[in-house]
């Protein structure tokens, strides 16, 4: 049966292919958001999603997408020009300092008032959302800012970032006496910051020195391995880290079959200040922790901003844009890469101390590769190289799943995360709020100039 030539041409046309792709996307979203199957009924989920009338809704949405894309395609130049106009006008509007600084202050005020806003807007669930602000957004913002230095500023892919987080947490636990092996003297958690940061930097340098010479993709695997190794070590060295049962120090004496507790410290203590007349104890309450995090985060952000615009930051940019040229200009690329690694590691260790004190108890399974990847997603989504982007990205990606946690099963989270990564890389690799320099680099890379990251031996065309 010969297919009429017209139909054949239609099926091969660009438009139809786009329509088919849009339908495929619609079906995938249908399955993603639909029913689950089980291993005794593997096709149950698919049958429920695709055999049900709901599939028509998604096909319709796909068609709408296609219409939008076709319209955009026809009018692409006009749309782009209009966006460009708005964006340039907005930039011009925001450029003068008399607008910029108040805006900055405004954002800061918003951040300071966030817990109060939560109290006012969500009184019934305020404790939960304050916890989200601290545990999910606050600590992860710190992590993301640190990883941003490694991935965004220096262009290195680090898949084992949580290893330094773990090191920071365990060092803090050690010096506050919460591990089976006791320190010579107990420290206030504030004093464990320098210890943890130092340990993380040492670990970062030990990991980085031999491996940063490697090609980018090998570096990724090695950092992944390092992340796994730290988790395994934490789990195996039971006498030092508490092993799989987590941190906690418990000394018992057994007399005639009855054991009594002699000494006990089951959790890492909360922060406290008893100095120069200031007496304040942090407790399980989230709000004081939030403000502590805010102060520390602002300090770190300011420091990194200065770093970005300094000689070191320029060296990183040079390495990112063209490593060979950077070497030729006399930049010691290895030294700057190790520096980026160490700075990222120190931030991670810093966040680890905060996590240890806030949560009190933790165990090895927390420090998984999955967590490292999650932080990477925040950086990528927000915009690698852009501090602001990374903060917004983290906030959005942490708050959204928590608000939707009754609508969507929590275990489906990574389906969306994975899809998000792929989509971001294809359509907007510069991220949500990109750094202008990075966008330019990516644009240039697409035209064949430079590599836009410190990944490959330059000149290797993929």
């Amino acid at each position: 049966m010969a297919v009429p030539a017209g139909v054949a041409r239609l099926l091969r046309s660009q438009d139809f292919r786009r329509l088919a792709s849009c339908w495929a996307i619609g079906l995938v979203v249908d399955v993603m958001t639909g029913a689950a199957g089980s291993n005794t009924a593997p096709t149950a989920g698919l049958a429920a999603d695709l055999g049900h009338p709901r599939v028509l809704v998604f096909l319709a949405l796909g068609t709408v997408l296609w219409l939008g894309l076709t319209a955009y395609g026809r009018r692409r130049e006009q749309v782009r020009a209009r966006i460009q106009l708005v964006s340039t006008n907005a930039s011009r509007l925001m450029a003068p300092p008399r607008v910029r600084y108040p805006a900055l202050v405004g954002v800061l005020v918003l951040a300071i008032l966030a817990p109060q806003l939560v109290n006012v807007l969500l009184p019934a669930t305020k404790v939960f959302w304050q916890q989200v602000l601290v545990d999910d957004v606050g600590i992860f913002v710190l992590l993301a800012i640190g990883l941003n230095v490694v991935v965004g500023f220096a262009g290195l892919l680090d898949l084992g970032y949580i290893a330094f987080y773990a090191i920071g947490a365990y060092v803090s636990a050690y010096w506050t006496g919460a591990l089976p092996v006791q320190p010579p003297f107990h420290l206030n958690p504030f004093w464990t910051f320098p210890m943890a940061v130092a340990a993380a930097i040492v670990a970062g340098v030990i990991l980085g020195a031999p491996t940063l010479r490697l090609r980018g993709d090998y570096l990724a695997i090695v950092t992944l391995g390092f992340g796994e190794i730290i988790q395994i070590v934490a789990r195996n060295l039971t006498s030092v880290t508490g092993g799989p049962q987590g941190v906690g120090y418990l000394k018992t004496r057994t007399v005639n079959g009855q054991s009594t507790v002699v000494a006990r410290q089951l959790t890492v203590p909360h922060f406290s200040i008893h100095l120069l007349g200031i007496n304040f104890d942090w407790t399980l309450d989230n709000v004081p922790y939030y403000y502590l995090l805010l102060v520390l985060a602002v300090g770190i952000i300011v420091a990194f901003r200065l770093l970005e615009n300094s000689r070191v930051g320029r060296a990183w940019t040079a390495i990112r844009e063209d490593e060979v040229a950077a070497e030729a200009c006399g930049i010691n690329t290895l030294k700057y890469k190790i520096m980026a690694f160490a700075i990222g590691a120190s931030t991670s260790g810093f966040a680890g101390v905060l996590f240890a004190s806030k949560n009190g108890f933790f165990d090895p399974p927390i420090f998984s590769v999955q967590l490292s990847i999650l932080v990477l997603v925040f950086v990528i989504f927000g915009g690698m190289g852009s501090i602001v982007g990374v903060i917004v990205g983290t906030a959005v990606l942490q708050v959204l799943p928590q608000s939707l946690r009754h609508q969507f099963p929590q275990q489906d989270l990574f389906i969306y995360v994975g899809a998000l990564l792929v989509v971001m890389m294809i359509f907007r690799p510069q991220g949500l709020i990109p750094s202008r320099r990075r966008s330019r680099e990516l644009g240039l890379a697409e035209e064949g100039v430079g590599g836009a990251d410190a990944m490959g031996a330059p000149g290797t065309a993929p």
Binding site: A36, G45, G216, V233, I415, M425, G456, P462
Partner: protein
């Protein structure tokens, strides 16, 4: 020596594992050869092969116990089922996650991130659709000891794995060495630009390379699943180990991947009696880092472009 006590048993079981690693490693190595890209999502291709084989065997074997020639036939069908599933997923992966990036000349970082995203998407959606509990593949043979070698028992499973793996590796070897497609793969691996000037359709070759890697990985998933069951998280560890094997043998080198896989399987097995199990992975990663630092081109060197 710590492993002399059970040497032959450990060696043989290690070889069986090694064959599975080798099949997966071939997928990594092929893709790396033509794209200089680590296909992180290859572990999910392996997983889908496991599921493909599972579904085929569920339908064909169910709760029966086939023998003899029926067993062999069913094994072949199962392998094909797994391979087909793997190949399909690899094909879609290349089209959706990598080709758009190639079209825009995206930087390396983008490929890696896209691969990670694809990997997470695939295994989580498999978990959602096919359940999160491990499922046994109904084996088309009865597993028992067939014969003994130096006192070590050789189970039916070992022979199955060795047989299937050897056949597939031979076919691959012939394909890359003698066919036009193989020539195309070697050409693209050696120098993509020149190859396209010589008339090789780069896109088609890359796509086909992915599919071939997917066929091998999918078959490996089926073989692995026969012994260990199929579950949505099954790809992570074997994938990572197989990548280590590919690097060990020389990434981009087909014979290297085979050698690396077998070597890793044996070393891992013998090492079990020397090192406490909980430290195994540390040793494995340590070896990886060492190899990468001391001899990054691997045992057999890197080039796929040279004779395969």
């Amino acid at each position: 020596m710590c492993f002399t006590q059970n040497f032959w048993s450990l060696l043989i079981s290690g070889l069986a594992n090694g064959f599975v690693y080798a099949l997966i490693a071939l997928g990594y190595t092929l893709v790396y050869g033509v794209l200089q890209l680590i296909n992180f999502a290859h572990s999910e291709v392996f997983m889908s092969g496991g599921f493909g084989g599972l579904f085929v065997m569920d339908q064909l074997v169910g709760s029966r116990q086939p023998h003899g020639a029926a067993s062999v036939l069913l094994l072949v069908v199962g392998t094909l089922g797994g391979a087909a599933a793997g190949g399909t997923v690899a094909f879609i992966l290349e089209r959706v996650a990598y080709r758009p990036l190639r079209r825009r000349n995206a930087p390396k970082l983008a490929y890696l991130i896209s691969a990670i995203g694809a990997s997470y998407f695939l295994f989580n959606i498999a978990g959602k659709e096919f359940g999160r509990q491990s499922a046994n593949i109904p084996t088309p043979y009865t597993n028992g000891t067939l014969f003994h070698v130096f006192g070590a028992q050789v189970q039916t499973y070992y022979l199955v794995v060795a047989g299937v793996a050897l056949v597939m590796m031979l076919l691959l070897d012939r394909l890359v060495a003698s066919t036009r497609l193989g020539q195309g793969i070697r050409a693209v691996a050696q120098d993509a630009d020149t190859a396209s000037l010589m008339g090789v359709n780069i896109n088609r070759v890359i796509s086909q390379t992915f599919v071939i890697g997917g066929l091998l990985g999918g078959a490996a998933g089926f073989l692995y699943g026969l012994n260990s069951g199929v579950v949505f998280t099954m790809g992570f560890t074997p994938g990572l180990k197989a990548f280590t094997a590919a690097v060990l043998g020389g990434i981009g080198n087909i014979r290297g991947a085979m050698l690396g896989g077998l070597l890793l399987g044996v070393v891992e097995s013998l090492g079990v009696s020397c090192i406490p199990f909980s430290w195994q992975d540390v040793i494995a990663f340590g070896i990886l880092v060492l190899v990468l630092m001391v001899r990054p081109t691997g045992l057999l060197g890197e080039r796929l472009g040279r004779s395969a």
